[in-house]
Amino acid sequence: MTDRPRRKIKLDFWFFVKASVILALCLFIVYPFYTILTKSVFSSKVEGITLYNFQRFFTKKYYYRTLLRSLVICSFTTLFACIIGVFIAYVMTRYNVLGKNVLHVFIILSLMSPPFIGAYSWIVLLGRNGLITQALTAIGLPAPTIYGRNGIIFVFTLHLFPYVYLYTSGAMNSIDSSLEEAAENLGMNKLKRIMTITLPVVLPSILAGCIMVFMTCLADFGTPMLLGEGYTVLPVLVYNEYMSESATDPYMASALSVVIVACSMVMLALQKLVVEKKNYTMSTLRPPQETKLHGVKRFLASFPVYLVIFFALLPQIVVVCQSFVERSFSGVVQGINLNNYRAILKRLGQNIFNTYAFSLAAIVFIVILGILISYVLVRKKGKAATVIDTLIMFPYVIPGSVLGIGLIVAFNRKPLILVGTAAIMIISYVVRKLPYTVRSGSAFLYQMDPSVEEASINLGVSPMKTFFTMTARMMLPGIMSGAVLSWITCINELSSSIMLYSGKTSTIAVAIYQEVVRMSDGTAAALATILSVTTVISMLIVFRATKGKVKIV
């Protein structure tokens, strides 16, 4: 249905939706990034357009080693997350692990918790004054340190292996069991079956999970900032170049941003090349059977899964416990009480209010836009829909801190001054978290037969009214499960908030970061507990609403 030269552009509601969505995306994604791009080729030291910043980046060790460190951290994290994720996915889908449904929920919860809370908890346990560190020192043993490269990889791995697990277990559940039976029937032993049939078939999904891990690692700011100490990675350097009082260089920060985005784009291109070309569509007539293990064997299969999940959830537990412990400035325990909560309500009430108010405002926009955009992407295919589809996925390759900088440089001058306002925080949330809702909404809509809408129109209800009373309503489950994910990531958002906040618009996540830096563990823990509890409640609502069939990835 392409060749219609005389077709006029219809000035209807959907034209208006498409035009305004494209305009908004250009204004809040393309324009900020364009501003960064142009800033990156200028410098305060050289006249005119120059590659000076990039030249400096690739020649000065201070700069280029952050890229190498980022790549080292991302690579090792991806490797370890892959091994752990695939192993747990295999055991969980093929064996009768005790309480596997609950474990599945726990794994998702550990992914959904804010990453920097993990970093903070491990500092509480293994930091300089950490609980374990002190205990080990007391009995004269050397304590491992959580700071630096290894610590970052450790925390990232525990936080991100769920991506690999979720992708892989999804694929493993969709392998028809006759596939493996056919291999068995043709004379393959068990190990060879796994190596020649199971693994190759789920490989695209494993790779997709790995790329998610890699990209999240590359963009994350909180964890390496808290744990890095001297070990500076690229997003931390961007922050330092842009924010620190000593060496503010917006041009260099812009150039660094371009480097990060370039790395993400390479990863995304790799994904397109490797993953999408090798994706198998399978018709699952008979889902794979789980093997029933008994006694010791069942324990041996379950134990590693429990161990990993225990470590993954440990930060949450530590944070909650810690939030009830009152300490003096020197770290001595004063008592178990609610004083930390009293303190944050008194001192940081504004942050708590901001977090919920901004996220709620963002979610209202996200839900409305999510419904409209999903509908355009699925039912109104065309050039405009393709443009929107591309733009909407852009935030996947732009790390939060980079988008933050982009919004600052784009909107700190007339005609549109937004820096320091609540609006810019909300805009950054909407732009960055919208993809979750759009993806979930459009996936849902794809499974909805268009004839239902046609039946309504046919019975005399206008297309517009059909959309609002019928289609939008039926899309709601898909939209809402995406919106809850958007909501959870909004309240836990740090990397763009820390760039964009002002005194009045600070959030819980920003406050936790500042409290940790200030060594005020108790209040940080209380704040983190508030976020964790909100996250868990929100997740439980989705699980209840979708009967456990929530799609995170």
Binding site: M1, T2, D3, S451, N458
Partner: protein, 357 residues
């Protein structure tokens, strides 16, 4: 109010591909009219143009006096039954059926009355407050049917409504639909690829192929007098034989089949030269003279026996012989002679136009 439907020269294009090449049809008021053809013939495309879900690239569509080309789908006053039923999943059976009446702002009491009546007509009144997910396929089909006719549309459209049902239910629903249509007298346009269904249910059928109408007629006309080889082959079983029209006098053609059999066929216009004839399996019979052949296979089917006979040149023919007409069963391998009932076969010239009367 029920209405006649007139389609003049309908054209549909998808890019460079023309899906409909100027289709014209006159569907009478209250008629059960079927669009029949293989998949991809354009029958659903045409139906969706009538409904207003496909754009119209050429031609005129009328409901009675009103040209509907530019009337939006929701104002055409059409009832439609979709292939997958398209039941609104979040509404109860009652609410589904009431949906179109509410859109027409019918009085609340009137809605209740008509919904109840419609549900009784399709025999699902006890299920009124169920959700669609609690219904079987056949029950959903009835809801879709009630929802479409309860608005008393000027035209009822049905897009392969029975294709998702199992064989037994299909026959049952077929007769329900037919009786309901008779009773309500709604002009109905029905799309199917199943020729048996079309023959059983329709007042008239339009056989379509590759975006063209091949023949319009009553089921018996289409079966007995197919106007071209496509219809002859698509509806029922036909044996095709190449032949020559040797001469043509006084409306009777002398036809020679492979030089082995000569028959006289009454024709509507004069023609000599190469031709093609088609004969139904029951229009062929075993005789003392005729085309020589050998029985290759026989299937006993109760009221008749189906034989596969190989002619000397290798062509296979299918012959049905009714058991009540003959006591003799031909053995496999038996040498036989085949003859025709020349008044009932169809004869086509090289341009595939029908010659026989």
């Amino acid at each position: 109010m029920s209405n006649e439907v007139i389609i003049k020269n309908a054209v549909k294009r998808y890019g460079d591909f023309t899906a409909l090449h100027g289709v014209s049809l006159n569907i009478e008021k209250g008629e059960f009219f079927t669009l029949l053809g293989p998949s991809g013939c354009g029958k659903t495309t045409l139906l969706r143009m009538i409904a207003g879900f496909n754009s119209i690239e050429g031609g005129d569509f009328y409901f009675g006096e009103n040209r509907i080309n530019d009337v939006p789908a929701h104002k055409r006053d059409i009832g439609m039954v979709f292939q997958n039923y398209a039941i609104f999943p979040h509404l109860t059976v009652e609410e589904n059926v009431a949906y179109g009446l509410k859109a027409r702002k019918v009085d609340k009491k009137e809605i209740d009355r008509r919904v109840k009546e419609a549900l009784e007509l399709v025999q699902i009144a006890p299920l009124a407050s169920r959700k669609p997910s609690e219904l079987s396929g056949g029950q959903q089909q009835r809801v879709a049917l009630a929802r479409a006719f309860v608005i008393e549309p000027s035209v009822l459209l049905m897009d392969e409504p029975l294709s998702n049902l199992d064989a037994k239910l299909r026959v049952q629903m077929r007769s329900i639909i037919k009786k309901l249509q008779r009773r309500l007298g709604i002009t109905t346009i029905y799309v199917t690829h199943d020729q048996e269904e079309a023959l059983a249910i329709s007042d008239r059928i339009a056989v379509m192929n590759q975006g063209k109408v091949m023949q319009v007629g009553t089921p018996s006309e289409i079966y007995a007098k197919p106007e071209n080889p496509f219809v002859a082959g698509f509806i029922g079983v036909s044996n095709f034989l190449n032949c020559d029209v040797v001469s043509c006098e006084n409306g009777v053609a002398k036809v020679s089949i492979k030089g082995e059999l000569d028959i006289d066929v009454p024709v509507r216009k004069a023609y000599t030269g190469k031709a093609q004839l088609s004969a139904r399996p029951e229009q062929l019979f075993f005789s003392e003279t005729g085309m020589p052949g050998k029985v290759m296979f026989s299937t006993f089917l109760g009221d008749f026996i189906e034989y596969e006979v190989e002619l000397d040149d290798g062509q296979m023919l299918i012959i049905n012989e009714y058991t009540k007409d003959t006591a003799k069963v031909h053995e496999v391998g038996e040498k036989v002679f085949i003859s025709f009932d020349a008044t009932r076969i169809s004869l086509y010239n090289e341009a595939e136009e029908v010659l026989s009367k």
